[in-house]
């Protein structure tokens, strides 16, 4: 049975592909965490990323210490980029909202068609904080309609593995 099982992409892929997947899913986890979607972050941090990291570490040919250093640097740079993306989104949304506020009545606002959900936990007896969190969620929801944060966030190109012609063996594996 096991001899006929198809290996997963993680088991077969080349290190460049694996590295780029790590970049991509780290980015996704950071965005989801900023959006307060912890339930979606957990499987990424507990399953997908560890599996990718294990596979990449065993194939990249670097010593363990260098792997750790490269990963640590990646995590902090992706976090910085996401923080910057959210800041840019907030600035742009503020600007757009201010300009729309100056428009004559009847001007259309971009309205996202999605339900509103809190993006952080607020204790039940703290009504004031709940209302603040609702306001934040509404603003962020509006922000996503004006400029989705995944578009506002530019990951530096150098974070990704450089493009190179794969060897015949790598091409076969990929």
């Amino acid at each position: 049975m096991s001899s006929t099982t198809t290996p997963s992409p993680v088991q077969t892929a080349n290190p460049r592909y694996l590295w780029n997947e790590i970049v991509r899913w780290t980015f996704e986890a950071c965005i989801l965490r900023k959006e307060g979607r912890e339930a979606k972050v957990a499987p990424l941090l507990q399953e997908r990323l560890p599996e990718l990291i294990r596979a990449w570490s065993s194939r990249c040919g670097l010593p363990a210490a260098a792997c750790r250093e490269q990963l640590t640097s990646l995590f902090s740079r992706v976090q910085e980029s996401v923080e910057l993306g959210f800041m840019q989104q907030r600035m742009i949304v503020n600007e757009v909202c201010a300009r729309l506020g100056e428009q004559p009545k009847g001007a259309r606002w971009p309205i996202p068609a999605q339900a509103l959900g809190l993006r952080r936990e607020v204790a039940i007896d703290n009504v004031s904080d709940m209302l603040d969190a609702l306001g934040e969620a509404e603003f962020e929801s509006m922000g996503e309609a004006i400029l989705p944060v995944r578009r506002a966030t530019q990951l530096p190109r150098e974070l990704f593995a450089p493009e190179a012609e794969p060897s015949a063996a790598e091409a076969a594996l990929a």
């Binding site: 979607r37 959900g117 709940m130 929801s141 509006m142």
Partner: protein, 379 residues
Amino acid sequence: MKTAINKSASKGGSAREEGRSSATETIYVGLDWGTNTSCLMSAAQASAETTVSLQEKIPTVVGYAAENVLNRVLPGDAKVLFGQEALAHKLYLSIVRPLQGGVIHDLPSARLFAQHLRDRLKAGDREVRAVIGMPASSDLAARENARKAVQGVFDKIIFVPEPFLAALGYRDDARVSEGKYQDPVANSLYIDIGAGSTDVCLVQGHYPTADDQLSEPFAGDAVDQIILDGILAAYPDCGLTPARVRDIKEQHSFVLAKDAATPAVATVMVGGKVKKLDVTDQVGAGCEALLQKVFEMTRELIARADADSVSELLQNIIVTGGGSLIKGFGVALQTKLLEEGFENPRVRVLGENYKDYVARGALKAARQAKDRHWQNLLG
């Protein structure tokens, strides 16, 4: 011109003690603006935390008088009637329901209905601040429509998702410190079955985040449609309207085994003759479909809860909303959960007063909101 808040009205002030309200005192309103029925509660700003000066349930209907109605047929020869009065005179009115699926569907009638609510307050020139419950699934467009409907009616508003308000309203703050009191917001699963959507959310000491709630556009209206389709398939010429189907459902809805002693028999007019139709199977099918949907949503949300919290959570499954009034719903859901393998689940149904909890929660929220939270609707 409406006046600003009376900043001098302080708790324990003489106006409160004497039960009077000054002309400049702000009125707080908690509103559950429901598709079928709205619940309104109000209190003066300076009143004690537990004081509710007005509490009313009003069918959410607006009736426009037909052009040729004879004098003195309608009370005060009114051109527009609301709520129970509109339903009582529906023969002479064109009835409009301003909301559909929990959100504003007809803006002009919604504005008239909102003005009627304000009139019920007898607020005069006093400032009125309203916290209004919205379905958890409502988007910004729905809130924008609701805002337009109450602009110029209320002075300041806040929209809050209904499950938040139900949890807040259901909690008895005076008893929280009692050892025996089971705090309904400590670790509970709320199921709110409205007209347009069913919302299920985890409330574990904090307000539900986006991940703690599920919302499906399958609720009372969908049940009505299933019943109507079933009846029309069996009795094609019965001429039933959606409004009549809703009446039938409200009288006869059930889940679990059919109760042979009380079959659902609907009286309808066919070709000008009164006929009695047995619609037990059709009503049962609609209610069963809702039960199955609620069960699936409940199961999914339990799976999302922290494993350590599940056994306590299963003891506090709370069903609210119009759908909770289906006969046997709580027991049937409990049975399905038990059959699925959940250990000792306990489902509580809030019953007829479910609307009060949202309005009471809204009034609580109004009292605790800071100035920065209120959206100003003047101008």
